[in-house]
Amino acid sequence: MADVILRNVRKSYGSVDVIKGVDIDIPDGGFVVFVGPSGCGKSTLLRMIAGLEDISGGTLEIGGEVVNDVQASERGIAMVFQSYAIFPHMTVRENVAFGLTIAGASKEEKERKVAEAARILRMEHLLDRRPGQLSGGQRQRVAIGRAIVRKPRVFLFDEPLSNLDAALRLDMRIEIGKLHKSLGATMVYVTHDQVEAMTLADRIVVLKDGRVQQAGAPMELYHRPENRFVAGFIGAPSMNFLDVEVVSRDGNSAKVRSDVVAEFAAPAWREGIPTSGGAILGVRPQDLRPVESGGALSGSVNLAERLGIETVVDVTLRDGARVLASLAEDRVFEPGQSIQLGFDPGRAHLFPRDEPADAD
C-alpha cells in the first residue's frame, strides 16, 4: 500500500494544456474518486498516475518516491479499464495470473492467489472459460481479479462500471466498496456517475478544465460546495440557481431578495460575495417544499415527474426562471397549477455572480 501525492502536475499536448497544475494528496488506504464533466482531464490524470501518459510538469509521488520517469510496469499499480481489457486469447485463470506470470511467480503461488481472488470475486466456476464466453459483469470481475491478485500498491479504476447495466452496476459498486474495506488498499477511481462517487469515496476530487475545483469528503462537497460549479455538479437533480440582489451583509450572513424571492437572510461564507449588488442564490431541489402560503418562491407547475418514492416538479417562476423541486413523496400536480415553494434559509447557498457555473 502507498500514498499518492500530486504536486502542481501538468499535462500538455503541444500548446494545449489539459491538466493545469493539480495538487492532490491521496492517503495510504484512501478511496479517492475523480469526478467531472467529459473532457475535464480526470481520465488523463488517472493515466498519468498509471504511467500511461507522460507528465509534462510537476511531480507525482507514489509511496514517497517520485515516479515521473518510472515506467508503468515498474510503478506497482493495478488498473481496471472501462473496456475491461482482458486478454481474449487467454482463459480467465491465465488472465488473472498474468501479472504473477510476468513477475515469475511459482505455479503453486499463482494457483493459490488466483483461487483466492476467484473466491473473493465469486468466479471460481469461470476460471477455465475464455473472455468470449463471459457476460459484461463477469468480464469486469476478471479485470478486478487480475488487479487484486498482485497486491499492488495502488488500484486505479477508469470508469469501470459504465459499460454495465444499472442492476449490475449497483452489484459491482457494492463489491468494489467491500473490496476496498477488506483489502484496505489505496484506490483511485474515475467516474462521471456521482452516485458512484458519493457512495464509494472517502474523498472526492471535482475537476473542471484540468483544474481541481474542490476536494473533500462527499458530504462536505454536497453541503458546502466552494463554488457554483461544484454545487451544480454534485447532487441530482442539479442545484437551482437564481439571480438575487444582496440588500445588506453582516459577516457570514447576507439579506437577499429579488422579484421572485422574498427577502431572507442567507449564509454568506464564500469569498467574493458583495455587501450589496448582484449575487447567485443556490437551492437544492431536495430543500424545496410546497407550502400553502408565504413561500419564498411562487410560480406555476410546468411538469411533474412521479417516480414513486419522489416527485420532481419543474416550476416556472413569475419572472420566467425555472426551478426543480424534488419532493420525497408521491404527489399529483397538474400542469399550470399555481405553487408556492419554501425552503430552510440555513440550507440556501450564496455565490458571487461573476463565477461561471456551467459544467462544460
Binding site: 504511467g51 508503468a72 510496469s73 515498474e74 493495478a78 488498473m79 498474468f98 501479472g99 479485470a143 498482485r150
Partner: protein, 293 residues
C-alpha cells in the same frame, strides 16, 4: 408465397454455385492442364492442346517425363534450395516486419512518422530497378565466415535471403492490423508489469494470427517465384532455386514440353501445400480488412 420464395432462394443458390464453379474451373484448368500434360509424350501433348483432351488423362499416359526431368536437372537440390531460402526469409521477415510495425504503432520515438512515410514510399519502387545497385553492393559486402572476414555475398544463400527480409508492404500490413488491436490490452499489459518484448510476444503475436498468415503467404509467393535476382547473384548450381532451374529445360531449340510440365508440377506442390495450410487464416485476414473488431 412460401413456395415462390423457396424457388427464388433455390435459383439464387444455383446461380451462385454456377458462377463459383466457373471461377473455380478458370483457376483449376491451367493446373489441370499442367498436371495432365506432364503425363503425356510431347507429340500427344501438342496434339491434345486443341481439344478438351488436354485436361484429361487420356492416350499414352506415363511418368516418363518425371524421370527425364530428374535426369536433366538436379530438381531435388533446386526445390530444397527454394524451400530453404523461402522458409528462412519468411520466418525472419515475419519477425522483423512485425517487430518494426510494433514499434511504429506502440512506441513513441522521434521521427517515427517520417520514417514510416519513407517506408510507404518504397512501395512504388519495383525491385527490378534496384537490382543492379544491389548487386554491386552485394559484391562488396563483408561477412564473417568460417575463414574470418570475407568480402562479397555473391553465390551465397544470404544474398538470396537478407535483402528480402524487411519490406514496406509487410510492415504496412502489420501496422494496419496492430492499429486495430484494442489499445487497452497493451496498456493493461504495461500496467501488469510487462515489458515491450513480453507485450509483443504474449499479447500482440497471439492476437495477430491472420496478419501473420497473410504476410507469410505473400512473402512465400514472392520468394518462391524469384527468378531475376537469383539469376544475377547465383552462379553455383548447388544453391540455385527452382525458377532458375527452369532454364535447364528451355535453353534449346527443341523444348521438351512434357518434362517442363513435369518440372512445373513438382515445384508447384510446395506452394499449394503452404497456401492450403494457411488458407483459413488468410481468408479471415482478407475478410477482416477494413472491419474493426
Amino acid at each position: 408465397m412460401a413456395a415462390v420464395s423457396s424457388d427464388n432462394r433455390g435459383l439464387r443458390l444455383a446461380v451462385r454455385y454456377a458462377v463459383l464453379t466457373l471461377v473455380a474451373v478458370i483457376f483449376v484448368f491451367p493446373l489441370l492442364f499442367m498436371a495432365m500434360s506432364s503425363l503425356k509424350p510431347d507429340h500427344q501433348l501438342l496434339t491434345d492442346t486443341g481439344s478438351l483432351r488436354a485436361f484429361l488423362p487420356v492416350g499414352d499416359i506415363s511418368f516418363d517425363n518425371y524421370g527425364a526431368a530428374f535426369e536433366r536437372a538436379p530438381i531435388g537440390v533446386f526445390v530444397l534450395n527454394s524451400v530453404l531460402v523461402t522458409g528462412v526469409t519468411v520466418a525472419f521477415s515475419l519477425l522483423v516486419c512485425s517487430m518494426a510495425a510494433f514499434s511504429f504503432v506502440f512506441l513513441n520515438w522521434r521521427g517515427r512518422d517520417a520514417v514510416f512515410g519513407v517506408l510507404l514510399a518504397t512501395f512504388i519502387i519495383p525491385y527490378e530497378t534496384i537490382f543492379v545497385p544491389l548487386l554491386l553492393m552485394m559484391s562488396q559486402l563483408p561477412w564473417i565466415g568460417r575463414g574470418g572476414i570475407e568480402v562479397g555475398w555473391l553465390n551465397t544463400y544470404r544474398a538470396q535471403i537478407i535483402p528480402f527480409i524487411a519490406d514496406g508492404l509487410s510492415i504496412f500490413l502489420f501496422v494496419q492490423y496492430f492499429k486495430d488491436l484494442p489499445r487497452e490490452l497493451i496498456e493493461a499489459s504495461r500496467v501488469e508489469g510487462a515489458g515491450w518484448w513480453l507485450i509483443y510476444r504474449r499479447i500482440v503475436m497471439p492476437l495477430s494470427g491472420p496478419v501473420f498468415a497473410t504476410a507469410a503467404i505473400l512473402k512465400f509467393l514472392f520468394m518462391y517465384n524469384q527468378y531475376l535476382w537469383p539469376l544475377m547473384v547465383v552462379q553455383a548450381e548447388d544453391i540455385r532455386p527452382v525458377m532458375v532451374g527452369l532454364g535447364y529445360f528451355t535453353d534449346q531449340l527443341n523444348v521438351p514440353w512434357g518434362e517442363v510440365m513435369a518440372y512445373l508440377t513438382i515445384i508447384t506442390v510446395p506452394v499449394l501445400a503452404f497456401y492450403l495450410s494457411l488458407q483459413r487464416a488468410f481468408i479471415s485476414s482478407v475478410a477482416s480488412t477494413g472491419v474493426k473488431g
